[in-house]
Symmetry: C2
């Protein structure tokens, strides 16, 4: 499991998609504009996400992308794994034989740690994040509404 800005872009885009594709597909152009990510970079990311079976492209006018599964069934680890080249972080490439005596200090250890992180990220779904974010959005909207009300009151003075 590698964790870089690339993965962040992917998670962000997927979250945007989850948030806006309730009714109709969302175009990458829209996501690019909202999240300030280059369109073609998004295309690259979504090509991988599509090949991983997480999203589905709909061509033609009114088209765009939509999720293949429910937001509760899409986890963060899968998204990150989909966009990152699956690099074998071991020297031996699966075989546990690079040295005689201290062979797997790197091998088992990092693999285990990496697996733990993956498990952790697997336990977080898009729905979980959406919920969190929605709470915040609601809070902000309520704040705005409140301010709006205050302004109206002010005008009525």
């Amino acid at each position: 499991m590698r964790l870089t800005t690339k993965g962040r872009y992917a998670v962000t885009a997927m979250l945007d998609l989850a948030f806006h594709s309730q009714i109709k597909p969302v175009t990458l152009t829209d996501i690019a504009a909202r999240q300030t990510i280059s369109l073609s970079y998004l295309e690259q990311l979504f090509a991988r996400l599509r090949r991983a079976g997480m999203v589905k492209g709909v061509r033609g006018p009114g088209g765009g992308y939509k999720l293949c599964r429910k937001t509760s069934e899409i986890n963060i680890a899968d998204i990150i794994a989909a966009v990152n080249e699956p690099i074998d972080s071991t020297k031996c490439g699966g075989e546990a034989n690079c040295q005689k005596d201290q062979a797997c200090l790197t091998h088992d250890l990092w693999m285990g740690l990496s697996e733990q992180i993956k498990d952790y990220l697997k336990s977080i779904s898009l729905a979980d994040l959406l919920e969190k974010n929605q709470v915040q959005e609601v809070a902000i909207r309520q704040h705005h509404d409140a301010q709006h009300t205050i302004e109206i009151h002010h005008h009525q003075d």
Copy 2:
């Protein structure tokens, strides 16, 4: 929190150090040989680890590196943070103002997730990993011993 091979190198080297520096300091040459990491790359990593106050260099013959703290007081997150350039993973660089309406979809969300991963890695100490590894080592040795016994039995036939 970023997770790349660089961090893996650092954690692996620190673990090797923890494992071998019980009695006397360990030279980077030894670690380089054991873990098949380039010596000069290790030097770079250990320069950062030293600046972060995690290891101490001992000069002269019989010198090398040793840990500044107990293995139970050194966590994985700190090691990884020490070798990675502290990059601000947000576009806005701390300010939450990159866009008007959807400002912090990226911001709060990824920051929070990143923080959670960091917390998780903070909860794992070198001692924890050592213990695990030692358990495995014992297991392997036992397995070897068992096979050895089998071979002896075979010879006795």
